[in-house]
Symmetry: C2
DNA sequence: GCCTATTAAATGTCTGACATTTTGGCAAGC
DNA sequence: GCTTGCCAAAATGTCAGACATTTAATAGGC
């Protein structure tokens, strides 16, 4: 596989790794293909072998490629990629068209996890957490009216969810929030792409977010859990995953013995 | 901070990284402390600067340390560690003295997440999942009697939890299960280190696991959620995080308005 | 035809020198 | 006395070249 078409780059090994990684994520090479040799990369990008080796080390660390002495470098199967690795999350930022199947998977995770997370936040939130939440919510209400401030609105929305992850005061949950951040951005952008949200849906979304904030401020775990589930239900509607009348996500009904 | 007490090592940069990482995870240095310089590491371990640099590159990639030209290397805050990185998961395997603070954090996550996970598993489990669960549970009961089969018992216990993660049939949860696997091993080993477990605690643990399996087989989400919480309560007791009479983990009681 | 020794190619490793960044000290000047 | 500027020391970052090791292919001998 040649290197034709790849742009030149500025900066050190990190920039080179990012460039190559995005080419891989975009499908420039297929799994199993041979990856260019070190020396070819050196000449093509006009960098030292050290830079190339550092960049390739990042690619192997994230499971994108596999290197063996004497044989060369090969692209690994997609299932082997460490999709939750912070490096990959970073490289993914700015990629718009996510796989719909992936969207459903990630949303299903959030739908099961974030209500519990909101419960934790209601139990553990401190003053600084409440301030972050309120700042984000205030920003959301401010930018809700004007459709031209859509990007800002998304940012505040993401900040709101991130603040909940942080308010849990648990290391692992915070990591999850960090790792899922790009996916959450994609989900929110996808949900806002629906036109009908800008007529009546946005107000509804705002009130549901507000109820979460209020429950966390009151330190009411049960209420926070319910409110968070309502927020995600709204998102599901906007994403087209469920309709108001026909929920696809399994409900709480249960066939006890 | 000196290097006294650290064992020598065999093998390449990976082994050195593992050694240093385990020392970090065990709390040998505090966040903010200065990490030994490259040349000191070279002389102490009698390896080339290349090996040291490769090892330190892994430590920075996982967020354990932070390096700046001219200033040296410093230990980062625990909240900055990429606890879900496969490398860290790998380094955690077989570690005996995990930082107690870290144990609490990971356990707190599992205590909040796995009940919901069990609920998902009860909804989505298929035949293959049930077979995995039953095989693991059967192995646990078989190896429970003889204390010399402790390692096998741990393996079956881990397999049981892993099977639950898989049964959720969600991509993100499965990745979580894979990443948390070493931590779960460490937690289980830690819980079994308590002597009293081998008198009456082990039977109790077995019955609680059995209730989870039964609920999942009946596709009863609520029961599965309750049963999973009971399993973790047992683990908490064995870990010494809570006592039977004085739970430290926040309960479900709630001061609604 | 099969096994083996050789060779070529690619990644891995070592070494020494040099570059860059940070920090602290020291001294001149206001 | 305080600031400013410069220089030197220390630590990490980078480079270039040679060499080692692994892998795969290939030619040769039986």
């Amino acid at each position: 596989m040649s290197l034709d078409g790849l742009p030149h780059h500025r900066g050190g090994a990190e920039a080179l790794a990012r460039l190559l990684a995005r080419a891989l994520l975009a499908g420039r090479w297929q799994p199993g293909d041979a990856f260019p040799r070190e020396l070819d990369l050196c000449t093509h990008f006009a960098v030292s072998r050290n830079q190339v080796r550092n960049a390739l080390a990042s690619l192997t660390a994230t499971g994108l490629i596999e290197r063996t002495a004497g044989r060369g470098s090969r692209v690994r199967e997609v299932s082997e990629w460490h999709l939750l690795d912070p490096l990959i999350s970073d490289w993914m930022t700015g990629i718009e068209s996510l796989d719909p199947k992936l969207v459903r998977e990630i949303f299903a995770f959030r739908y099961s996890a974030e209500p519990v997370l909101a419960r934790l936040a209601a139990q553990a939130a401190e003053e600084a957490d409440l301030e972050r939440l309120e700042a984000a919510f205030h920003g959301m209400t401010r930018t809700a009216a004007s459709p031209e401030a859509r990007n800002q609105h998304v940012e505040y929305d993401v900040a709101f969810h991130d603040a909940i992850y942080r308010a849990s005061h648990n290391l692992v949950w915070r990591q999850m929030g960090h790792l899922l951040r790009p996916s959450i951005i994609a989900l929110i952008q996808g949900s806002q792409a629906q036109v009908h949200r800008f007529h009546d849906g946005l107000d509804d979304s705002l009130t549901r977010h507000g109820r979460v904030l209020e429950a966390i401020r009151r330190h009411a775990p049960d209420a926070a859990e319910r409110a968070a589930r309502e927020v995600l239900r709204r998102t599901a509607i906007d994403l087209g995953i469920v309709t108001d009348t026909h929920p696809v996500i399994a409900s709480a009904t249960e066939p006890e013995s």
